[in-house]
Amino acid sequence: MNAVNTASVVHPANESLTGAERVVLNLYIISALLVFVVMMLIGLIMRMAQGTWLNVPPNIFYELMTAHGAGMVGTMGLASCAVMWFFLRKYVRLHLAMFAANYVLFMLGALAILAAVFIGGYAGAWTFLYPLPVHSMGQWSVNAAALFMIGYLLIGVGFLLFYLDAMLGIVRTYGNLARGLGLNRLFGGEIDKTHPPAVVASTMVVIVNSLGILGGAIVLVMSLINAYVPSLTLDALLTKNLIYFFGHVFINATIYMAVIAVYELLPRFSGRAWGVSRPFLWAWAASTVMVLIVYPHHLLMDNVMPHWMLVMGQIISYTSGLPVFVVTAYGALTNVYRSGIRWSLPARLVVLSMFGWAAGIVPAIIDGTISANLVMHNTQWVPGHFHFYLLLGVLPMVLALMFHLVDARKVSSDGVGRAGLPVYLIGGLIFVGAFLAAGHVSAPRRFAAHLPQWVPYDRAGSIGAALVILAMLLFTGYILGGLLGASDNAPAADAAR
């Protein structure tokens, strides 16, 4: 890549934003960043409470845990929608109104959730596992639980609107969803190397997450009816299946949306194209199916489940790792190897995200083994592996887009990257390592108070978390300043973009 065309390669003209688009996108980004920081602080409070450095009463701890879980998962969904929207709109026609509607419904839902938790005292965890929301032993009212669920429904409707719009856009441009996903090229035929990975990933997400959210909506409506007509009892195993189906698909969809930033941004810095190939299309087609049927790995300790489903949960857990390793992470490394890459902050973040994702699924896959799950299920091994790929995988993808946007307006974020990224990485590794190590010695997850032998892990985790938050504050301040402050670029250059 030569210096002359660098700016137009990194910030191509078709990515420019209209005034209205910039406002909506900024709302997404700024809201997401602020929620991330607050939720991280809540996480730190929980970890310090477990480490007996803070005294937090159990009812407050579990409220914080509920807010942190729902807040982080939801906001990661919101932020990764922004990634998908930003890149997908170059290839298919998206309606800004739908993108904005998703934001508004999200905020209304978030308001309902916050009120349910911090006013209504709802602390039934983000997974609202039936019948706990309606059986709190007097800790919170049925109304608080219902408000929480209504908040989820509002958020779900917003996502569905956005996905519907994306679906229509993909169908209008490519004929149908199968072509968007590249299914017509799985077995033969010329691979269209200009078919954008962003379209493949988006198509996969609109399919799976629409189904995931529908599953969630069904169990939410069932739970709401049961809340006010308790005589209509629900099947605890069926609701569990639906909830984990929804939860698994939703959180995984955030990764599949956010990874678009990797496919789009990395080649601009490495100077090497990253187009679709047959293995790439196979990987995404397989992931589409696998992400929908792998959820029984959350039910491996439900002995009454049909055992074939448990076996499927284990096997699909294993095979789910293959596309990540074989296509995405290895593809990124191939793209970088001896490329003379320019290590801008977005480039560093996407490579970090590939590491976080690939390394984080190692403990996850192992936990998908029934005999390993027998001793690891619901220990801190679980927050250990999911924080690994959420904190060191998905969040860096999302941050990469944010810095990319700021870099278009500012000189360069390289400096803030040099200062912040090592702190983020080291803190993150300490934080997730402490969870995994605690899981190794059987410390349970979701415990407001720990036995003395687990406290050292909690303290180490707190120190790691504090480092992450320090770096995150630096990033947040820089991004907010970059998006809201005056642009460094001459007006002419700005207009050209």
Binding site: P58, Y62, L129, R272, D302, Y318
Partner: protein, 181 residues
């Protein structure tokens, strides 16, 4: 070596391997750019090998970890097992007996009177030995043969509300003279 130690070791090795590959590539990311096509061709050739290796490993591990099947048959009762009925409540455990013999299978019949709970048995070394879910309207059978005598702690491993973390009980495994080692 406990199962946890094995899992921990394999995980650390796996993560270290991923990290080494990343470090290797990042260390060789600079310099004069090599032709993308050449790098790709070689990388894909290498990939074929470790892809096959992963497949073989996956099939082997699947086979090895599912035989014998780690979850007890839910219909076939085990003759001669010591039976412990377990009922979970917010927030205490009700066990039909608090002493079992080592070396002789124990069948736990685990259910819940209210919400979901997790029935986890911690050994004398405070590591989880086995667990299953306790669910309203379902009974999960869990079969385990204890080798080591001593006190075993029961903790709740499914979040069940305010006093979830305080929901503990225990039982004793006693050595029997007739027990096989």
């Amino acid at each position: 070596m406990t199962p946890q130690d094995r899992i921990w070791l394999i995980t650390l090795l796996g993560i270290a391997l991923v990290a080494l590959v990343f470090i290797y590539v990042i260390a060789r990311s600079g310099g004069v750019p090599a032709a993308a096509g050449e790098v790709q061709t070689r990388a894909y050739a290498i990939r074929r090998w470790w892809f096959i290796a992963l497949l073989v490993l996956g099939v082997g591990v699947t086979w090895a970890t599912l035989r014998p099947f780690p979850v007890a048959d839910q219909r076939q009762l085990l003759p001669g097992a010591q039976i412990v009925d377990v009922v979970a409540h917010q927030w205490f455990w009700e066990l039909s007996r608090t002493q079992v013999n080592a070396g002789q299978p124990v069948e736990f019949r685990v259910t819940s009177a209210d919400v979901n709970h997790g029935f986890a048995i911690y050994g004398p070394d405070d590591r989880i030995v086995v667990q299953t879910q306790a669910m309203p309207a379902f009974t999960n059978r869990l079969v385990h043969t204890f080798r080591r005598p001593g006190f075993y702690r029961v903790l709740c491993l499914e979040y069940c509300g305010l006093a979830h973390h305080g929901m503990a009980n225990q039982f004793e495994v006693v050595a029997t003279t007739g027990a096989k080692p």
